[in-house]
Amino acid sequence: MRRRVLPGFGLSLGFTVTYLGLIVLLPLAALAWKASEIGLAGLPRLLSSPRTLAAFKLSFGGALLAASINVVVGLMVTWALVRYRFPGRRILDALIDLPFALPTAVAGIALTAIYAPNGWLGHWLVPLGIQVAYAPLGVLVAMVFVGFPFVVRTLQPVLLSLERDVEDAAESLGASRLQTFVKVVLPTLLPTLLTGFALALARAVGEYGSVIFIAGNIPLRSEIAPLLIVQRLDEFDYATAAALGVVMLTFSLVLLLLISMLQRWTRRWAEQSA
């Protein structure tokens, strides 16, 4: 190994590992320890209760749908921000990060106020039979809100660096704009779109603050999985809370692994096409 010219290896690595050990690893060990009281044997019984099953279905199903919506809308918005010039573009660009910066509880009560039956949008939608607040649709709206910046911010640098020569070549060879988009642009963006999808999904599945206000939290209908953990903790049923926590954490870890694989794929993809 190369002789180290720079100092502080032992100090910086030692501090980093100790800090991570105390703040992240030790609490994770406590989770594993408490969850083992229920064990793998108890897990199926726990998950098969109709209420738990409904909550997990809503959390995972809602997050999948929200991430899909975010990919489609996010691609359109990023395209507009990167390729076109129009008044207010920079302000809208800065506002994309609002869901990152706005505390989730604030987003939650604001969305509820808008979509409640007497709210700005609610009093138009409810007479049409579209109930957003206190219904599963509200959960979806909140999940789209929190996941949106992930898709745009993942996509933006890639779309900015995309060479337009290829598109010009396709068009000069007689391809229509739509054909060029579907056959030339979309395949190049695919790994990035998938990364954005996974990031938005990870965020939406675990989201709590912005969802619980608008959801109304009706058992079997609009109750999300993180809320179940809060309920078990309120009853001091730590073991069940821990087991539910392990299920959610496992899903996050699998997604994290998938995201890092996707990002490696994106880099290889970029190198190949360069």
């Binding site: 609490p27 990152f100 910066a101 603050g209 993180p226």
Partner: protein
């Protein structure tokens, strides 16, 4: 602009397509971002300025603001030190297990806030790992300020490190090595060479870390116990007032948090524009 690249005229169909993409994008952003943001301020002032001021000028609101500032004042410096140390170790040296360390730093980003809070309840709660010992020694962590601080540290741990690592990786260590060879001490090298190079990214990281530390809800709501005046931060005070149907009061506190978010976005954009301008020179 009539002609595009290559002098080809822009067809009516293409211009229509472009316009509809712009209009649809603006409509979505207005509906999903601008309207919720505006509604926070409208609801806060629904009963006039007087009601707004009155609902903030109250002991419990002041206690919540003080607690929020306290939690951020402890959390942000700790995570800055961690972020700098982690970035230094990750980008200036090669060692085994680096990828794993990187994954661990990113981990809190993908954990549900509720699960993050749960981790600390299972460590320090009444039936937790250290619960009986803490009880015997009269130390309170869960349902007290230390729990709020710990949960917030966990949630905001990656923010500074994530801004610094890619930048320091890209910058490389040549300048620092030269400083060392020319006889600068380790500390001199860090303060005179490294710090000036990373200051904007560091500021950016501090900004994001602070915004999240002041606004975190899920994780702190699990460990707080909602004791008014003692363990309720601003977001928790928003929740409690909202659940008591005190809407003006809830939105008044929420509007302060929304202002913080807007300020964060403004400084962030200013930093980005400055950075882009510097890059284009």
């Amino acid at each position: 602009m009539k002609a595009r690249r290559g002098g080809r005229p822009v067809g009516i169909a293409r211009r229509l397509g472009r316009a509809s993409i712009i209009v649809a994008s603006c409509a979505f952003l207005c509906l999903f971002l601008v309207v919720p943001l505006a509604s926070v301020f409208v609801e806060a002032f629904r009963q006039g300025t007087h009601a707004f001021v009155e609902s903030i000028d109250q002991p419990e609101a002041m206690a919540a603001i003080r607690l929020t500032l306290l939690v951020a004042a402890i959390t942000v410096p700790l995570n800055v030190v961690f972020g700098v140390a982690a970035a230094w170790a990750m980008t200036r040296f090669t060692f085994r297990g680096k990828a794993l360390l990187g994954a661990l730093i990113d981990l809190p980003l993908s954990v549900s806030p509720v699960v993050s809070g749960l981790l600390y309840v299972l460590m320090f709660g009444a039936q937790g790992w250290f619960g009986p010992w803490l009880l015997a020694h009269g130390v309170k962590i869960i349902f007290a300020v230390p729990g709020l601080v710990l949960a917030t540290i966990f949630i905001t741990l990656p923010f500074v490190a994530r801004e610094l690592i890619p930048l320091m990786q890209a910058q490389g260590s040549e300048e620092e090595e030269v400083a060392r060879v020319l006889g600068a001490s380790g500390l001199q090298t860090f303060f005179r060479v490294t710090l000036p190079n990373i200051r904007w990214a560091l500021l950016y990281g501090v900004l994001l870390c602070n915004a999240r530390a002041m606004g975190e809800f899920g994780a702190v709501s699990v460990v707080s116990g909602h004791i008014r005046g003692l363990t309720t931060t601003m977001p928790l005070e928003v929740e409690m007032r909202y659940n008591e149907y005190n809407y003006v009061g809830a939105f008044a506190i929420a509007s302060l948090l929304a202002l913080l978010a807007l300020l964060t976005l403004a400084v962030k954009s200013a930093l980005e524009w400055r950075y882009q301008a510097a890059e284009n020179h």
